[in-house]
């Protein structure tokens, strides 16, 4: 017999399971199935091609992806950890400002960030040319591109993962532990390596895995900078463009296996008992730097870091003021005005991508908002068989590289099926909002899970005890309490959807091309100013949303990454 409680769980679960099956599980399985087809006939041919001698490029790309990711982890850690340590353990003038600036890279959408780097440090970049002219060199002293370009962009965009985990671990660290070590006779060096460092390691491992995954999935940087260099995420795109969907499926499966293996490893690692502080933190305590030499060294370092960190943003701003056709053969742009911004608002075809992006992001966000609440509620507050499975299913889109999600959707919806209501979705407007919905659902579920786990069951019971029915309780008690978490997840999903490039490039049509696609188009037409203006719009949107989240929802920026 089903009692009321179980019936309710079932009613909640049916839509959740249907949607996750139809739009996450089915496309994933469909890709796996497709990878075993060769010209429509079941075979292992694709895998033989991948690993065999015939197509070395694929194996090479996989290998490239792996070592690029390992190096990205290393560089991100080398930048993020010391920066976090200095900005969080020492008190010196401007510390607060520096530590706020340190997370600025996250407001640059990947494509825009790469673009800014290209124009800063690339062949025609402002910095190399400026140095050349200043020192009267005949050649530019350095330029980024290919592997070095990808690595530098990765280090810049991914070090905040290390910075934030280290900073939060440091502020949770009970200083009496270090004091206890000193009291027992350990010198400063010993204290750091024997006490502080071991306590920070769980954070390092988590950040490393995260950077590795993000870097494996990275698409924009190789797309714009790789040249002839091949990485796996890019190979998928090329296979698709060349019409070899079966090979693209095979490549997707292999990239997915690597990513999911890492996700599982990470879950296992985080689920292990870690030594978190039992005592309540006394709050961050920073040692005042009194030695003037040291103090001003730190300030200089801070200023230097801020300049480097903000240069891409500044470049973007400057470039966005360069009107079309005024910067061609010259080393530096000469004309600056607001033409590009003006065109955004008075030229319909320039405005169209912005409108498309906004509309599609709003649709996707409405979806993740509603669906995220119910999914998260079912996962946190209900007990049922297969809960773990559902939990993994929700997180799959988070673990899968965006390129793979795009491929999954292409393979699942380029023929009619019940989940597309018998329509072919590929090539229609709806495929992109659907892709955004799937891709960013985990963001909302995660942030909602966090607040729901904090919500004591007795709150709901109290409402029930006072006579409120389940749905009334849900509306009047649960939702208002969890709203900050849901909203912060949704807002984050919104900004990511506005900046999303990899799935967009696989699935867009002329009718629904979003901002990122138009940036790519404008870059191809060497209309750098307009591309930068689009980029500025994305940056501005992200900045506004982050401000709202931290100001009104009390959400720390670091939460939005984890």
């Amino acid at each position: 017999m089903l009692n009321a409680e179980k019936r309710r769980t079932l009613v909640l679960l049916i839509p959740v399971v249907l949607i996750l099956t139809g739009y996450v599980l089915y496309p994933t399985l469909r890709t796996a199935y497709e990878s075993f087809l060769h010209n429509g006939v079941p075979s292992f041919q694709n895998y033989e091609d991948f690993f065999g001698s015939k197509a070395k490029a694929n194996l090479q790309a996989l290998w490239n992806s792996v070592w690029i990711s390992l190096l990205s982890v290393l560089f991100s850690a080398l930048i993020g950890v010391p920066l976090a340590y200095i900005f969080n353990r020492y008190e010196f003038p401007g510390r607060r400002f520096f530590s706020n600036i340190a997370i600025m890279p996250i407001v640059l959408p990947s494509l825009v960030g790469v673009m800014a780097f290209m124009f800063l440090y690339g062949e025609a970049g402002l910095i190399p040319n400026a140095i050349k002219d200043l020192l009267n060199l005949s050649e530019v002293p350095f330029k980024i591109g290919g592997i070095s370009g990808i690595l530098i962009v990765h280090a810049y965009t991914m070090y905040p993962y290390f910075y934030m985990t280290t900073a939060s671990a440091l502020s949770n660290l009970d200083l009496s532990l270090e004091e206890a070590a000193s009291n027992l006779g350990a010198n400063r060096f010993k204290v750091f390596w024997q006490v502080t460092f071991p306590l920070l390691t769980p954070g390092f491992v988590a950040a490393s895995l995260l950077v590795f995954m993000v870097s494996m999935a990275s698409f924009s940087a190789p797309f714009l900078l790789a040249g002839g260099f091949r990485v796996l995420s890019l190979q998928i795109y090329f296979s698709k463009i060349n019409g070899d969907l079966e090979m693209a499926a095979t490549q997707s499966v292999i990239l997915s296996i690597v990513s999911i293996a890492f996700l599982l490893f990470m879950r296992w690692y985080q689920g292990r008992k870690d030594y978190r502080m039992a005592s309540k933190g006394i709050g961050a305590h920073r040692s005042e730097v009194n030695n003037p030499m040291l103090k001003w060294t730190m300030v200089t370092l801070g200023v230097f870091a801020v300049i480097i960190l903000l240069l891409p943003h500044a470049t973007l701003l400057i470039l966005s003021l360069v009107p079309e056709g005024t910067w061609t053969w010259q080393t530096y742009p000469a004309v600056f005005n607001l033409e590009n911004y003006k065109m955004l608002f008075d030229t319909p075809y320039i405005w169209e991508p912005v409108r498309n992006s906004l509309i599609m992001a709003v649709i996707a966000c409405f979806g993740v908002f509603v669906f995220g609440i119910f999914t998260s509620y079912a996962l946190v507050k209900r007990n049922f068989i297969g809960k773990n499975l559902l939990d993994i299913l929700v997180m799959i889109p988070w673990a899968l590289p965006a390129t793979v999600i795009g491929m999954n959707l292409i393979l699942a919806f380029n023929s009619p099926n019940p989940f597309s209501f018998g329509q072919i979705l590929v090539g229609t407007f709806w495929i992109l909002p659907l892709a955004y919905f799937i891709r960013f659902l985990p963001l909302v579920v995660r942030s909602t899970n966090a607040v729901l786990e904090q919500l004591d069951d007795s709150i709901e019971e109290a409402a029930q005890n006072l006579g409120a029915k389940w749905f009334y309780t849900f509306r009047k008690v649960v939702i208002p309490i969890i709203m900050p978490g849901v909203l912060s997840g949704t807002l984050l999903a919104f900004v990511q959807a506005v900046g999303e490039f990899p799935t967009s490039v696989l699935l867009y049509t002329i009718g629904n091309r979003p901002i990122s696609i138009e940036i790519m188009n404008q870059l191809r037409m060497f209309n750098i100013g307009q591309a930068a203006a689009y980029g500025m719009i994305q940056v501005a949107l992200i900045a506004v949303v982050m401000f709202i989240s931290s100001r009104f929802l009390g959400v720390k920026a670091e939460k939005s990454l984890g």
Binding site: N3, A4, D456, S458, I459, E461, A462, A463, Q464, N465, L466, G467, A468, K469, Y472, K476, V477, P480, I481
Partner: protein, 365 residues
């Protein structure tokens, strides 16, 4: 106002039996306490009354209405949770008004009732505050007001004082009793604190490992425990293993293994609990009943010993007397000044008064 009748209630969670074969009848207007150590099934039982759990077996009745599987929102009970469970996004007024709003009461009536109940819990000044701005004791009173304002048939209190400091606890104890008497509501109070139970309750049910050990008034529970668990859990006591050793005219004889000798116990129901032949027996004697004296004392059940420790607690003095290497007895006397304190190491005589001893069976597991 209503009676609560639990008959043959069993609650299992998977393979674990949380409550086993429980029968209880709680009278109208009674202040009834479930007392027991943590994990004994008292909160589970309370939650079955509230409707958050449905019993695996058995029937829950309010008056004559069968409530066994009625959902919680239709039971009209008012519950105060251990952590208060105040709605963090509402003000004090909104919290208290919640139950009335659900009942679709008019705005004016709601306002009147909420103000009335807030006055009764002395929080009328705080109506517009956010609950997070209140102290623990104030939050407690909001929770109480929220439960009372819906005029529940039964008031359920789940360890409501356990999060308060000692002083506030005394104050709230009086407050809860005052309100309960004022509203004359049938009240079920769950606690693991015996002082709370003894001072507040009309009747107490003592729980241990899913079973109700004894139901009775505070004096019954304290003076006539049915087994060694109740004797030991409520108040302090000295427990000695004994076996039957004969029957006199007005008394019985028991052999105390640890003393290697017999003691005499009055043969009344106050001194000897019901037991069967198969029961292991224990002798329970409260520290305040034991007489410890430096001079030889006249009467029955006098044994020599040596003072091991004298503990001064202010109002009372505990004297630990080592009878032999297997047995130490504790005697408690009210403080009568320094001249009456015994010296550690002194040879003393201990008397176990035959009218103060209670023979109880060992609790079945």
């Amino acid at each position: 106002m209503s009676t609560v009748h639990l008959s043959a209630i069993t609650k299992q969670f998977g393979k674990v039996t949380a409550v086993e074969d429980l029968d209880l009848l709680i009278k109208e207007g009674e202040f009834f306490t479930f007392l027991g150590p943590s994990g004994c099934g008292k909160t589970t039982t309370l939650r079955m009354v509230a409707g958050f759990y449905y019993p695996t077996k058995g029937v829950v009745k309010f008056n004559d209405r069968v409530m066994t599987t009625v959902p919680p929102e239709k039971r009209n009970t008012g519950m105060v949770f251990q952590n208060y469970a105040l709605f963090p996004h509402m003000t004090v007024f909104e919290n208290v008004a919640f139950g009335l709003k659900v009942r679709k009461m008019s705005k004016e009536e709601t306002k009147k009732r909420v103000e009335d109940v807030l006055r009764k819990v002395r929080l009328d000044q705080y109506a517009e505050r956010q609950v997070s701005q209140l102290s623990g004791g104030q939050q407690q009173r909001v929770a109480l007001a929220r439960a009372l304002v819906i005029e529940p048939d039964i008031l359920l209190l789940d360890e409501p004082l356990s999060n308060l400091d000692a002083r506030l606890r005394d104050e709230m104890r009086a407050e809860i009793l005052r309100l309960q008497k004022e509203y004359k509501i049938t009240t079920i109070y769950v606690t693991h604190d015996q002082v709370e139970a003894l001072t507040m309750s009309d009747r107490i049910a003592v729980f241990n490992s899913g079973k109700c050990q004894q139901v009775g008034t505070p004096t019954e529970i304290y003076n006539e425990p049915v087994n060694d668990f109740v004797a030991e859990f409520i108040g302090e006591t000295n427990l000695l293993g004994v076996s039957e050793a004969g029957l006199g005219e007005n008394h019985r004889l028991y052999h105390v293994d640890a003393l290697g000798s017999k003691v005499k116990v009055n043969n009344t129901s106050l001194n000897v609990a019901g037991y069967t032949e198969n029961d292991e027996l224990r002798l329970s004697v409260r520290p305040e009943a034991i007489e410890v004296s430096a001079q030889p004392v006249a009467g029955e059940n006098v044994f020599p010993g040596k003072v091991k420790l004298v503990q001064f607690t202010g109002a009372a003095v505990h004297t630990y007397v080592e009878m032999n290497d297997r047995l130490t007895l504790v005697g408690t006397a009210l403080n009568q000044g320094p001249s009456t304190y015994l010296k550690e190491g002194a040879e003393v005589y201990v008397r176990l008064p035959e009218d103060q001893i209670r023979i109880v069976p060992k609790a079945g597991v």
